[in-house]
């Protein structure tokens, strides 16, 4: 076995509400949703009209600037409505499920026997292509390009992240088929990043047609961006693709059964969940139907529902949907109450990377953290904090400043191609100046993408 890559920098935020390894079936939702904003930079063109009948795998819309990429319905039913936001941007496409589980048949096949073109075509048609994203930019991959490598991270190190070992149980075969399909998409290698100690499922550690890289260390060691940086870093002009484990499983099902089966297992986590557990759902399920009767009710405390983890997830309402790339729903308390002398009090119930709070004296303690931002935004003052949680050979503050002043040349030199907002999520968390760092990184990526488009 190869020597593990030790990630030294980073931070595990000790939150309450880790999911117990018990699998429940969530009740089927009456409504499912596909949310175009999940796919950054997408301009959807609708293919169905309200009232149209759809099956699981029926295209709902496609990308205006890349007409091959279809986005399909996860369930069978009726396309019921469209929610638009500012500038008529489509926010949600809703399907009223009929519970019949009719699937469009794309034809089963062994991916190892297929050509690259056939595999790409199948993925595009089925609506599973958007599961494959690319670096730089962290956007849906361009099927016309060929990546130098494909990365899959087999562990989620994010706060309260789902245990992918547990999720993979019983789906090892589909996962391997999915990897086989991915391996045909690149001339380079498919890299599977596992945790050197915690990943035990043989479906990961003994996966075939891939290079297994072992990692140890705190979050963000499980982020695919960090793994790419340490295994095969991205230089200007390089393209690397990546996909999540559950999407690889779905790709596997597509080739084994010929259908778009969007079932996935998600972790319901967070301090406001009564019984944090795993749930079997279909991608796009309504959050309400997953969390029902499982939320702590306390007078004065409003819960915040998040699709995804607390660092990178999307704020959601109860009638919102589980987002495309998320394996987790987190519920934490809103922090909308003022705190008298909150900045000076000892604050034993708060967590901080700085040792100015007593939290560091209680390493065993888990915290019930809320969404209070704690201060207005300030300019950069404190230095050396971001460097503690970013395990990349990148100068975070200098890169952020180059983005803020829109210096494209400097952004390139400082490695903008290697980063993604999620890799900087911890920097944003620890920032004492409360700067919106993930948004800043996204702005920088957008500027570069536009410049070279």
């Amino acid at each position: 076995m190869s020597k593990p890559i030790k990630i030294k920098k980073g931070l595990n935020i000790p939150l309450q509400g880790e999911a117990e390894k018990i699998l429940n079936s969530a009740s089927r939702s009456a409504k499912y949703g596909v949310c175009p904003p999940d796919f950054h930079g997408l301009t959807p063109k609708m293919l169905v009209k309200e009232g149209d009948k759809v099956e699981a795998g029926t295209p709902l819309f496609f990308d205006k600037y890349n007409e091959e990429i279809f986005y399909t319905s996860p369930v069978s039913g009726v396309f019921s409505d469209l929610v638009r936001g500012d500038k008529r941007r489509i926010l949600r496409v809703t399907i009223d499920a009929d519970g019949a589980d009719n699937h469009v048949d794309f034809g089963a096949a062994d991916p190892l026997q297929l050509s690259r073109e056939e595999i790409v075509k199948k993925l595009l048609k089925s609506g599973l292509w958007p599961a494959i994203r690319q670096r730089p930019y962290s956007v849906v991959a361009n099927p016309q390009e060929s990546p130098k490598a494909i990365f899959v991270s087999a562990f989620d190190s994010a706060p309260l992240g789902a245990d992918l070992d547990f999720i993979l149980n019983g789906q090892e075969q589909e996962f391997q088929t999915g990897l086989n399909a991915l391996s045909k998409l690149t001339d380079g290698k498919v890299h599977l990043g596992v945790h050197a100690e915690n990943t035990l499922n043989r479906g990961f550690t003994e996966a075939k047609n891939v290079v297994v890289n072992r990692f140890t260390g705190p979050h963000p060691a499980g982020n695919v961006g960090i793994q790419i940086h340490h295994v095969d870093p991205i230089n200007k002009g390089d393209i690397v693709w990546y996909a999540g484990v559950q999407h690889v499983i779905m790709i596997g099902r597509l080739f084994e059964k010929g259908i778009y089966d969007a079932a996935k297992i998600i972790a319901l986590t967070g301090s406001e969940v009564l019984n944090p557990r795993y749930y079997k759902v279909i991608q796009g399920a309504r959050i309400e139907d997953v969390v029902q009767n499982n939320v702590r009710v306390e007078a004065d405390i409003r819960p915040r529902y998040i699709s995804g983890d607390v660092l990178t997830g999307t704020k959601a309402a109860l009638n919102d949907y589980l987002r495309f790339y998320h394996d987790q729903i987190t519920i934490i308390p809103e922090g909308d109450k003022p705190e008298i002398f909150g900045w000076i009090a000892p604050n034993i119930d708060k967590f901080s990377i700085s040792r100015s709070f007593p939290a560091f004296l209680m390493p065993w303690r888990k915290f019930r953290l809320n969404t209070n931002i704690r201060s207005g935004e300030r300019p950069f003052v404190v230095t050396g904090v971001y460097e503690k949680v970013l395990p990349m050979d990148i100068m975070p503050m200098q890169l952020l400043k180059s983005i803020m002043i829109n210096d494209i040349d400097m952004m390139e030199k400082l490695g903008i191609y290697e980063v993604s907002p999620e890799d900087f999520a911890l920097c944003e968390y620890v920032c004492p100046s409360k700067i919106d760092i993930q948004d800043t990184i996204r702005d920088g990526l957008d500027v570069i993408r536009k410049e070279f488009a």
Binding site: N235, S356, E377, P379, T383, I394
Partner: protein, 390 residues
């Protein structure tokens, strides 16, 4: 307490746009956020945020400044009564010190914060917490003999020219507190030469004891006249000097607070001390006079060395911002301080000038550290290109 918050929130609309006290909004907000953390929640990006903020960061520096401040207050009284040859109680020494030091602190805070509030309102941004620390640092780095009006002038100069013209806290090149001292040093050199740094306005019937000079250890060493205090006195600070700088011991207590909480940069502190020791040692080797031959460690306990290393050089805004740069920056401060002290014929104290000088050079150091990172990335790319061509 809840009622108080409710009252404040009820008053708030008066300060909003169109309200009666619209112009005072930033002032209102500053006091409001000082009283309580507002119930503002995250809107984008990370849903939870680290509990630390600027106020708490700055507050910890203030805590770290308490030991030298308390010692300084006592020492002002102690030195005064020693100078006039009176034996008095500890309490009397402290009371005397308080009557001299407190006015300076108040003048420094009032004049500096007034400027800060004006600029925050004019530019419509939140009042930054940076001055909470600067306002305490300024009194601690000047002699107790400085007239109050000079303190006010120097503070206003430091805040306006040192900070606000660059865009406020976080944008300044020079350390504002040191700039205030440098202003006094060049504008009113008689007060900061280090010759008489004991409160010396005598009342009727009082007179200095025979042979008493009131000169700082550096001035003694520099001129070669007077008696050098013992190492013990210099380390614990029973010597004349600027209010907060004399006791290396008290400063080290503060350093422990800064390093333990992770708020002050240990890299910088340690490098400054190492740089000073190293340069002192070099000068020892080539010693041609008493000052050069003085054991290197004495530099660390004399004058403002320790205070500068712990509280001034570590200012994150004016220091080098890269991790590697911090070592270079710190070592250079130590080296330059000793160099200026010993070899410069005009001033006996080098700490202030060394830090200001390195403040100016910090961006250059960072530039080269960043360039090294960029070169590494370019080299990696070239290597890959060559491999793929073969």
């Amino acid at each position: 307490m809840k009622a108080l918050i409710n009252l404040i929130e009820k008053l708030e609309p008066n300060f909003h746009k169109g309200g009666r006290f619209e112009k005072l909004y930033r002032t209102f907000e500053a006091f409001q956020t000082l009283l309580y953390v507002k119930g503002d929640v995250t809107r984008s990006g990370s849903h939870i945020r680290d509990a630390i903020d600027m106020k708490r960061t700055m507050f910890h520096v203030i805590i770290a400044l308490i030991p030298p401040l308390l010692f300084g207050i006592w020492n002002v009284g102690y030195q005064h009564y020693k100078a006039i040859g009176l034996e008095v109680d500890f309490i009397d020494q402290v009371i005397f010190g308080l009557t001299k030091v407190l006015p300076i602190i108040i003048v420094s805070y009032v004049s500096g914060l007034a400027v800060e509030f004006m600029f925050a309102s004019a530019r419509d941004h939140e009042v930054n917490e940076g001055f909470l620390v600067s306002g305490m640092l300024i009194p601690l780095v000047i002699p107790v003999t400085t007239p109050l009006w000079m303190v006010a002038v120097a503070t206003v100069f430091a805040v306006v020219i040192g900070k606000e013209v660059f865009g406020g806290t976080g944008m300044n090149i020079l350390n504002p507190a040191l700039l205030a001292r440098a202003f006094l040093f060049f504008a009113y050199p008689a007060y900061l030469s280090g010759e008489v740094w004991v409160y010396d306005a005598l009342q009727e019937g009082q007179q200095f004891v025979d042979g008493y000079s009131g000169a700082t250890a550096l001035a003694v060493m520099f001129s070669g006249e007077g008696n050098m205090p013992s190492d013990f006195d210099m380390f614990f600070g029973f010597i004349p000097g600027s209010i907060g700088e004399t006791s290396t011991f008290a400063i080290l207590l503060g350093a422990i607070v800064l390093v333990a909480t992770g708020i002050g940069s240990f890299k910088i502190m340690a490098s400054v001390f190492l740089g000073g020791l190293f340069m002192g040692w070099i000068l020892n080797i080539f010693a041609v006079n008493d000052f050069m031959a003085m054991p290197a460690y004495k530099h660390l306990i004399m004058g403002g060395f320790a205070f500068g290393a712990v509280y001034m050089a570590t200012d994150p805004v004016s220091a080098s911002q890269t991790n590697t740069g911090k070592y270079i920056y710190g070592i250079m401060i130590g080296v330059l301080t000793v160099l200026i002290r010993v070899l410069n014929p005009a001033y006996p104290e080098g700490m202030m000038l060394a830090i200001l000088f390195m403040n100016v050079f910090a961006p250059l150091i960072d530039h080269y550290v960043v360039e090294a990172n960029i070169k590494k990335r370019l080299k990696r790319m070239k290597k890959v290109r060559i491999q793929t061509q073969v």
